[in-house]
């Protein structure tokens, strides 16, 4: 059953050095505040999982906490490169970064397999792409009914998944709406789950397209208004596109990034 906790205590108890950690949210509802708490607590040697690493993982990678990245698209959406990610991959700074790289369809299906507690998922994917030659989490399988060869992708089961949602009730039941991405799958695939929310309401009112996660699949809920900034929470905030554009010069230079980290997160 979800406990309502402070962000500090929830992160300290649920996320450990060496964990495989998924912080999901497809452009919308990205759990930035929780990532910053991970940085403040210097939780390190992480394997980070996320379809679109986005600026949130650029920050964690630049902070030197990440050993490996499992992902499918590593850019600053609409702006350009993730410079901390590039520096780690190209120059090993501040530490080498191992990659397990996929397509979006492959990553989405890896979470589906994880949530289903199956060893793998099948899809028509990766055909003719060099991607499959560089990872041991893509293979092929023959359909037992038609004989067609299909791509098989290994299940993803993070130690911890962290997401941000709009609301929880006092029992820790959570509701999110708008773009809900792959969060339900990432939550149900994980061993431990932390949800940050904009607010706690007396009772959840069903929303069109809303996804409700019962409190008993969640370990901790922390109230963090604005916890998705510079991403956004539909109904509460809008995407801070200026921040995403301003991130480019901040992240381009190691020293400027270091200063940002010092002043903003620590």
């Amino acid at each position: 059953m979800a406990e309502i906790r402070t962000l500090h205590d929830a992160v300290a108890d649920l996320i450990h050095d060496g964990d495989t950690l998924a912080m999901e949210g497809f452009t919308h509802l990205i759990p930035y505040a929780a990532a910053h708490e991970v940085i403040r607590q210097s939780i390190t040697d992480l394997t980070l999982v996320r379809m679109t690493p986005d600026v949130i993982y650029d920050q964690l990678i630049g902070a030197g906490l990440v050993r490996k990245l499992v992902f499918s698209w590593g850019g600053n959406p609409g702006v350009g490169s993730l410079h901390r990610f590039r520096d780690a991959v190209e120059n090993g700074w501040p530490r080498p970064l191992e990659l397990d790289e996929h397509s979006h369809a492959g990553m989405a299906n890896r979470y589906v397999a994880g949530a289903s507690r199956l060893p793998f998922a099948v899809l028509r994917g990766y055909r003719g792409s060099d991607l499959a030659t560089r990872t041991d989490t893509v293979s092929t399988v023959l359909c037992p009914f038609t004989g067609e060869e299909l791509a098989a992708v290994a299940a993803l089961n993070p130690d911890v998944t962290v997401i941000h949602a709009q609301q929880a009730d006092p029992d820790g039941n959570v509701q999110m709406w708008g773009l809900t991405g792959v969060q339900k799958e990432a939550v149900l695939a994980a061993d431990r789950v932390l949800v940050t929310v904009e607010e706690i309401v007396d009772s959840l009112v069903p929303r069109p397209g809303g996804v409700v996660l019962p409190g008993w699949v969640i370990d901790a809920v922390a109230v963090v208004p604005g916890g998705a900034h510079p991403s956004y929470a539909s109904g509460y905030s809008v995407r801070d596109n200026d921040f995403y554009q301003a991130w480019d010069p901040v992240s381009r230079d190691r020293e400027t990034f270091g200063k940002w980290l010092e002043e903003t997160v620590s």
Partner: protein, 254 residues
């Protein structure tokens, strides 16, 4: 007629390629500009689909990301990401995929993963695949839009992220790809289309004022030219006005 830039020529012609399309899976950047311009001009009923899960988005300004709030707020339906890729894309329901690229080769294969920068430097890292491999596999047809230069149009890709036509006309069939693959590559200089027999990209259209020689110079392989390449119609006032309105509204929204 007001003056226009090479980028505007590219964007207007990319939008025109969506005449008659019902549904389009839209990549961010130039493809999104083209698809939104198509909706604002010649194809108001075009269903825009973004990989963040929005089906039938009707943004009034160009989104910065594929997950801007307006895409979801104006959509006919918003679906989870696994559903988008499995039911809608893999399910074969989408007419056109519209992709950008860092590198393209003569068979319209795409690299968005890494670029070789010589023996003394590590490979330059690009964002990676995103949705492209399965968009190119499963949409009925694929359009591509990118600027024309020898850096982008290369004899050999440094990495095949997304299969276009492989090494020739049989490869898609051999690999069991359901869609037709790339049917046009629209650039700031002209339009290349795969030869029906060889699948090799061939220059079929030049933009006004552009020479065949200029396009050959900007292409990293010996580019074949259709016997009588056409010249694209110059952008109309209506197209340019719509394009510039979308772009300035996009900037104001940021």
């Amino acid at each position: 007629m007001s003056a226009y830039t090479g980028d505007e020529l590219m964007e207007v012609n990319a939008a025109r390629a969506l005449a008659g399309a019902k549904t389009c899976f839209v990549g961010i950047g130039l493809p999104s500009t083209a698809a939104n311009l198509a909706r604002a001009t010649l194809n108001p009923g075009l269903v825009l689909i973004y990989e963040s899960g929005t089906i039938g988005s009707k943004p009034t300004r160009l989104p910065l990301s594929i997950g801007d709030g307006e895409l979801a707020e104006t959509a006919d339906a918003v679906v989870p990401v696994p559903e988008m890729f499995n039911y809608w894309l893999q399910g074969g329901r989408i007419d056109f995929g519209f992709l950008g690229a860092a590198q393209v080769d003569r068979f319209a294969n795409i690299n968005t993963t890494l670029v070789d920068r010589g023996p003394d430097r590590p490979a330059g890292r690009l964002p990676g695949a995103g949705g492209a491999p399965e968009i190119a596999a499963n949409c009925r047809q694929v359009l591509m839009v990118l600027r024309h230069s020898p850096r982008n149009f290369v004899a050999k890709l440094d990495f095949v992220t997304t299969l276009g036509h492989g090494a020739g006309p049989q490869d898609r069939k051999r690999l069991g790809m359901r869609g037709a693959g790339p049917v046009a590559v629209i650039t700031d200089l002209g339009i290349l289309r795969p030869d029906p027999d060889t699948a090799e990209l061939t220059l079929t259209d030049l933009h006004p004022g552009v020479s065949v020689e200029q396009i050959r110079q900007a292409t990293g392989w010996k580019l074949r030219t259709a016997p009588e390449p056409r010249t694209t119609a110059p952008p109309t006032e209506a197209e340019l006005t719509a394009l510039r309105t979308l772009k300035s509204a996009g900037k104001q929204g940021r």
